[in-house]
């Protein structure tokens, strides 16, 4: 018996070494941690339960039968993050380059099935050279199996991808279908075709970093939701994100003790809106002053800065925030910001996370660049996302809410539950000057008259009270009391139940 137990130990030891010390050292030399080290950082100490430690591939082509390492290039199992269950797979670059084989894929699918059945998020740590070429179509089939699981799991459990090394070719489409993608700066990249193929086909000369590094995907393509300095920081921040997320779509978002006053008054918010309506201000100050302990987890912070998305807590419970940012492009809605916010709103709605919308929007961005690229359909995504959402929604208009953008930004008409406005709010079809020029076209040649008309329009509409008279605004509130008002509104909505007509699924304009 002792010998047998010893053999188990030996085999485990062998599996834990992955591709051997030399490859581990090489991984470290690149500034990367090994698959198992990453799991240690992601999960609570000692909580990891590994499965399929001894899985090995069954390929016999190209001499592969002589190289059958335990684990087959991926470590899978489950553990806890601050005591809450998550499933994890971590590709092991030291074993066959982390390449995906049929059995490698099988391991990933196994824990994804468990995650869906048992209701816990899946976190994938990606570091793989791609499909295992020796296996041919078996490897491709394996990828497709993972894709299919990603699709089935979407909206059932949160799926988080962390790109911690190469992720190229078909491999990118698994992370692409998860809820969040994070990257590690300088050591990770993602692209469909690499720099060599790009050069052959399009004659473009580009480095892997330029083509698909963290900066590209967080700032240009918006494929990634965030980037971190190194493996340690990335995994710590994923833990922080998981603290905000419900485990599955049958559960409410998590609640934890909070050290803040629900009725905290912030007198300084009374002066947040500058006297000059054309001066910007930082909407993040309002977010920080409304949220518990000023804690804000921003999603896609480097992309489409004219809209802000992310998570806060109110009374200890997660709330998703969507806010126009007057500091960037005056907070205008455009293709990028609409897409960014729409996806975020849909994530929140999937997982019963209430949504707080902070509005200061001058309208949609005009121009051929926008129209040619389909701002109509992209803008519609955000409209659609808000309109289909059934989670508690509270909206605060701080300043401008002009035109169609007013409707889009979680207005009363899009089923928001509680709509507040600050006294500084201006709810109108457009800015006063533009309106005057259209209504009083005859006076266009007379600047004095136009000014008088504009002033008259402003007096009439540059305030929240016309909308409040119609009940489109539930209450005009003092800026300083925003936290208390919003927190109480969400408290009132805790048992909100709303449903949409039965359908197979909707047809959001993609």
């Amino acid at each position: 018996m002792k010998d047998i137990i010893q053999e188990l130990h030996d085999r485990r030891e062998n599996a834990r070494l992955g591709g051997g010390q030399r490859r581990i050292d090489a991984q470290h030399a690149k500034g990367k941690l090994t698959a198992r080290e990453r799991i240690e950082l992601l999960l609570d100490e000692g909580s990891f339960e590994e499965y399929d430690t001894f899985v090995a591939h069954r390929c016999t082509d190209f001499g592969m039968e002589h190289n059958r390492p335990y684990g087959d290039g991926v470590v899978t199992g489950w553990g806890t993050i601050n005591g809450r269950m998550v499933y994890v797979f971590s590709q092991d670059f030291t074993v066959l380059g982390g390449s995906v084989s049929a059995t490698h894929a099988q391991k990933i699918c196994k824990i994804m099935d468990m995650a869906m059945q048992n209701g816990a998020p899946v976190i994938g740590l990606n570091d793989s050279g791609g499909a295992r070429i020796q296996e041919g179509v078996d490897a491709l089939a394996g990828y497709a199996d993972i894709f299919q699981k990603n699709i089935e799991a979407s909206g059932v459990i949160p799926q988080i991808s962390v790109i911690m090394g190469p992720c190229a070719g078909g491999a990118v489409y698994s992370p692409a279908m998860t809820d969040f993608i994070f990257m590690v700066k300088d050591t990770s990249y993602m692209f469909v075709t690499g720099p060599d193929v790009v050069k052959t086909v399009t004659n473009e000369i580009v480095t892997a970093e330029e083509l698909g590094g963290a900066s590209t995907h967080t700032k240009k393509s918006s494929v990634a939701d965030g980037a971190f300095e190194n493996d340690v920081e990335a995994l710590a921040e994923v833990r922080r994100l998981v603290d905000f997320l419900p485990l599955n779509n049958r559960e409410k978002p998590p609640v934890r003790p909070f050290f803040d006053e629900v009725d905290r008054v912030e007198a300084s918010l009374d002066t947040l809106i500058p006297d000059n309506p054309n001066m910007p201000y930082d909407m993040k100050e309002l977010i920080a002053k409304v949220s518990d302990e000023g804690d804000f987890y921003e999603i896609q912070k480097d992309f489409a800065g004219n809209i802000i998305t992310g998570f806060i807590r109110l009374e200890g419970q997660t709330v998703g925030v969507v806010a126009n940012q007057p500091l960037v492009l005056a907070g205008v809605l455009d293709i990028d910001s609409s897409r960014k916010a729409a996806r975020f709103v849909r994530f929140c709605d999937c997982f019963e996370i209430p949504i707080l919308t902070l509005v200061d929007v001058p309208g949609f961005l005009p121009g051929t660049a926008q129209e040619y690229n389909g701002v109509i359909k992209h803008g519609a995504k955000l409209l659609f996302a808000y309109g289909e959402a059934t989670v508690p929604m509270v909206t605060v208009i701080t300043r401008k809410a002009y035109g169609g953008a007013y409707d889009v930004m979680a207005s009363k008409h899009m089923k928001a539950d509680v709509n507040y406005a600050w006294p500084t709010a201006q709810i109108a079809v457009m800015g006063a000057r533009g309106a005057a020029e259209i209504i009083h076209r005859a006076d266009l040649g007379n600047p004095e008259k136009i000014k008088a008309h504009a002033d008259a329009y402003e007096d009439r509409f540059a305030n929240p009270f016309i909308a409040a008279e119609r009940g489109f605004i539930d209450e005009v509130i003092q800026p300083r009391s925003t936290r208390r008002r919003v927190a109480r509104a969400f408290a009132m909505l805790r048992n909100k139940q709303q449903s949409m007509p039965w359908k197979k699924h909707n047809n959001i304009p993609l």
Binding site: D44, V232, E251, T271
Partner: protein, 666 residues
């Protein structure tokens, strides 16, 4: 006594005058420009009168505007504060004509002391010690050299109308003297339209020490001891204290008596300040007389118990002084730090904008002393580009100088200012500087001790350990809270360990925390133990901890795996990790900050108005590269060195954040 007074000023000094007026039962009238519509002084006053656009030369220093405000409000007297119209004889005259009292000296005294040469002559005649030199006007370089030889090198060549270092040269020999004479003359002509030059002895190891005087209209005059104001940056006082750690009783008495004599010689009434330069041997020389309330007057009030503003008002209303020279004592020690919206890490560049957070320490008792904070701003208010970027004057008083410094350290540590750059870390560093602690400073203190500017404070090991212990204890609280979340797997909750590795400022400490009801005991690897107590909970921006019985105040921001902690002028990134996390973190490559020498970075948040160059263009040092508009100010960014523009990343209309890359050079 008056019933209603107008304060022809803004900011902290207007607020400070209103406080005393209110205490005396007087009604107050504030004046304000467009930029000050929501200012604190407007809110504090009983009435407020709008006097024009933001620019001071169209509002606060326009005599007619102020006279209109007086007429409108019916104020019987005007306190001018400092700056603006406070030393303007024409203003005093206009008030006189209108039959309104000026809470300040008579017009003649302002005029007499307003000119450097005249004032020095009067001082000499009144028996005040003056710097040896030639009082008359100097016509040419030969005459300048002859006079310099008589006075003895080194000498200072100065413009009569000068100020702020303009038109000033130091000469150590005849050659310096010839050159300096000509350049001072040119500079004076250009800057002041007045090229009169005089020469005086250059004082070595100079200290700036000034005497507060107070005179009434009945021939009484007293001095209220001195203020040491040697710590200056570019002639701008930063730290002041009273008394001076350098003066002895005899020197104090001599300086005080000469100051009163000078005041009497010009028929001075009200509060005034006689500035002296004092050399290493306690020889003192008259510099000038400021015929107004000084910025730094609170330190005098704190050690004498005299409310100078109250005395000014009483004197102006004709009352005789109720204090005699014998009543004036020195009680304890007072220090003032001027908090400016100037970013010490960016060469003290003014930083304007919104105060997203402004929480000064509570006024009143703190530790062994008391705190006084004279301020004109509030959280959510604006530091405007139009005026002096002063945020507050933070003063502390205690029985001894060492105690006053210690109270100041605590007060600075708990002073929260966010949203703009400010010099708080810098003055905190000065409070811990050995030369300041020893009281050994000259007017060259900042230039000599911070020759390359200020780049933060490095804490010594013992202090670092105390911060590390506090951080470990705070982190434990935060980590335990993270485990108290809903949805945990019953019986398999995370247990927060007691072993941690704290890394900060290139040091790493392995510690073990034992927590009990009263706090935590943090044990270091070498066996040393530090006791940490304090009620910090996550989200609190200020941690008031007691570490080994001593107070430690930290400004706290959350970062990944730890905190950003600020204390004593140090700005620390503190990581607290489990031993295993720390082991793996050590494997992470050190990432050096990107080399920005080949980049043009946006120095402030703003809008690109114009790009003056093209890609591939060669630019010369000093050539304009682009214009950034920030707060309606157009700032021209210039090439720091000759080079070729490789890439331009921004165009007109782009709105940029601080440190965004505008263009790259080859």
């Amino acid at each position: 006594m008056f019933e209603k007074i107008l304060i022809a000023n803004r900011g902290e000094i207007a607020c400070r005058v209103i406080k005393t007026a209110r205490k005396m039962g007087l009604k107050t009238v504030a004046v304000y420009s467009d930029a000050d519509k929501h200012a604190l002084h407007v809110e504090m006053a009983d009435e407020a009168v709008h006097i024009g656009p933001p620019q001071a030369n169209q509002s606060y220093i326009v005599i007619d505007r102020i006279m209109e405000a007086i007429a409108k409000s019916g104020a019987q007297a005007v306190h001018p504060g400092y700056g603006f119209l406070s030393e303007n004889a024409k203003f005093a005259e206009a008030l006189d004509k209108a039959g309104v009292a000026f809470i300040g000296p008579p017009k003649g005294a302002i005029e007499a002391m307003g000119d450097k040469i005249t004032s020095k002559k009067i001082a000499q005649e009144a028996g005040v010690s003056t710097v040896p030199g030639y009082m008359g006007l100097i016509n040419d370089a030969d005459e300048a050299v002859r006079i310099s030889q008589q006075v003895g090198y080194p000498v200072m060549i100065k413009a009569s109308a000068g100020g702020g270092g303009k038109g000033m040269r130091i000469a150590w020999n005849d050659r310096d003297c010839r050159e300096g004479f000509q350049s001072s003359k040119n500079e004076a002509a250009n800057s002041f339209g007045d090229d009169r030059i005089f020469i005086e002895k250059f004082v070595t190891q100079p200290r700036h020490i000034e005497i507060q005087v107070l005179c009434d209209a009945h021939g009484n005059g007293i001095y209220l001891n001195e203020r040491e104001c040697s710590i200056q940056r570019r002639n701008q006082k930063v730290v002041e204290e009273a008394p001076s750690p350098f003066l002895d009783a005899a020197t104090r008495k001599a300086m005080g008596e000469q100051s009163v004599a000078l005041a009497k010689a010009v028929g001075y009434t009200s509060a005034g300040t006689v500035e002296f330069i004092v050399d290493g041997d306690r020889n003192f020389y008259f510099l000038e007389m400021n015929t107004r309330l000084q910025v730094e007057h609170p330190v005098t009030e704190l050690i004498t118990g005299v409310d100078l503003v109250e005395q000014m008002i009483r004197v102006a209303s004709g009352e005789p002084l109720s204090i005699s020279q014998d009543d004036v004592k020195i009680d304890g020690w007072a220090i003032e730090n001027r908090l400016y919206a100037e970013d010490p890490y960016r060469n003290f560049l003014p930083s304007i904008g919104r105060l997203t957070r402004y929480r000064p320490p509570a006024e009143g008792p703190l530790g062994d002393g008391i705190v006084r904070n004279d301020t004109g701003v509030y959280e959510g208010g604006e530091i405007s580009m139009y005026y002096d970027p002063m945020i507050a004057k933070l003063c502390t008083w205690a029985p001894t100088r060492a105690q006053a410094i210690e109270v100041m350290r605590n007060a600075l540590d708990s002073f929260e200012v966010e949203g703009i750059g400010h010099n708080l870390p810098f003055v905190a560093a000065v409070m811990d500087h050995p030369k300041f602690i020893a009281g050994e400073m000259t007017t060259a203190f900042i230039a000599e001790e911070y020759p390359d500017g200020f780049d933060g404070v490095t804490l010594e090991d013992a202090h670092l350990r105390r911060v590390a212990a506090a951080a470990a204890a705070m982190n434990r609280v935060a980590e335990i809270r993270r485990t108290r979340v809903t949805g945990t797997l019953g019986n398999h909750e995370r247990r927060v360990g007691s072993d941690w590795v704290v890394s900060l400022q290139a040091s790493e400490f392995t510690v073990k925390i034992a927590a009990d009801h009263g706090g935590s005991t943090v044990r270091f690897e070498d066996g040393a133990e530090i006791r940490v107590e304090g009620a910090w909970t996550p989200g609190m921006s200020l941690a008031r901890m007691t570490v080994d019985g001593e107070s430690l105040v930290l400004k706290v921001d959350k970062i990944t795996q730890g905190f950003r902690l600020r204390t004593r002028g140090a700005d620390l990134k503190v990581n607290i990790r489990s031993p295993r996390q720390a082991e793996l973190a050590r494997l992470m490559p050190e990432k050096l900050p990107p080399d920005t020498s080949r980049l043009l970075l946006c120095p402030m948040p703003g809008l690109i108005v114009k790009i003056d160059v093209e890609e591939g263009q060669e630019v010369q040092e000093g050539q304009a590269l682009c214009t950034v508009e920030a707060m309606k100010m157009e700032n021209i960014l210039r090439a720091e060195k000759t080079g070729v523009v490789a890439k331009i990343n921004a165009g007109p209309g782009d709105s940029l954040a601080v440190d965004d890359v505008i263009m790259e050079f080859e």
